[in-house]
Symmetry: D2
């Protein structure tokens, strides 16, 4: 059975089934079109890496969750994560992270999501991709 | 002035200057040789992703911290992170993560660390690389 | 001295200074806006990998050249390549590769180009990124 | 039917079935143990990128072929390539490239190969990974 695309409440239910995602306070805020999802996450002191900057690993966590959300909006499910990559472009403590996630390709075997993480002022902070085994 | 290599207590001091690293409870446990460092991190319920598995982003956080530690053991400092990649090989809740980090190359402009994350039973769970601007 | 952005003939002159690029027959065909460049490359039997498909390494070569062209269109020069990544989405012998390259960020230290490789019918075949040390 | 591991002549037969690999003149020279393969490739003027250096895409081609060879030495076959990454460490025209490829993990769904490209004097020039859908 092919999984069905999820709507926004169902995507957030899947995201918040994870204890770590609840700790991150990341949330899908809009399905622009199926395969393109916006998310939002507040910055806070617990996310600090070095010298007043957000921890690089936090950007990687965001890429993982956001790519997953984008794929859920077209396929309803993914298999296990294969790999991910993150490019760091700028860094600073920001009041909120505004995230755009897009399905690059959802094939029969592989699903790939592309993610951009912006500050509230629209500055590109980090971007990346996450690749999943496609769910049957 | 060229930065000097750090010893184990100094590496942990640098790691634990980050609020998020303290939350992760990640710790460098041994400098095998300068450029090769072992770390350890406990698993716990807060790190859960989906279905009884560690969150993929947590593995990315470990790769970032461990590569950083390996470079500190030879150069004492890094510049900003350029990018990172993680390959996911296996997943399960494990009692502890045993991490091996190695400097792949510490040049005048770029420093690259290679990381393997194992379970306590020696199973390869994830591996990856983190690339930094080299500190002067 | 800050390098100046190059126009289309100057970009092709730089591309074709490389013997391997001449062998590939890759060519920049349009600067959409500075930082966004279109390129074209013919397929041919010498590029075959396995089973009637284009060699995966050829897509990587295209990503490298196209990202370089995009950066030349804003900065006129790059420093050495740091790393690259390619995602393979589909494969077949195609009459021509139509390539879109875009500067993701051209900072003072790092320049990153994002590349999509399409078939003449608009099918996404591969995509990727190339990261360079920024030229002064 | 599970594919069987290939020996050195069979691996080279598979490599040289590709027109582009024949052009590259890349060759597997030794199976150290199944899953660990050495290859060799001559440098030559046709492989030049910019300023007396090997083209970055050529290193990517080598990573692709060498990871493929390592997987053939344990599984006899791979499915399609999912993605690849290359880190560039040093560059110069070298008389020969000496390549070490190792299977990082050959699972039921995904097979990953890790590759190091050295000069004949043992200098690390580039390294990377290639990820494949595992053959049944």
């Amino acid at each position: 059975m092919e999984s069905s695309a999820l709507d926004l409440p169902a995507i957030n239910q899947r995201i918040h089934a994870s204890a770590f995602n609840r700790w991150l306070r990341i949330e899908a805020t809009r399905i622009v079109v199926p395969g393109q999802v916006e998310l939002r996450m507040p910055s806070r002191a617990e996310l600090e890496g070095g010298q007043g900057m957000t921890h690089g690993g936090i950007f990687a966590c965001i890429v993982d969750v956001a790519a997953f959300a984008a794929i859920l909006s077209v396929k309803g499910q993914t298999g296990p994560t294969i790999d991910m990559r993150v490019d760091f472009h700028a860094n600073a403590f920001e009041s909120d992270f505004i995230i755009e996630a897009q399905v690059l390709r959802a094939g029969s075997r592989i699903a790939t999501g592309d993610v951009k993480i912006n500050s509230v002022t629209g500055k590109l902070l980090a971007s990346g991709r996450c690749v999943y085994v496609a769910a049957r």
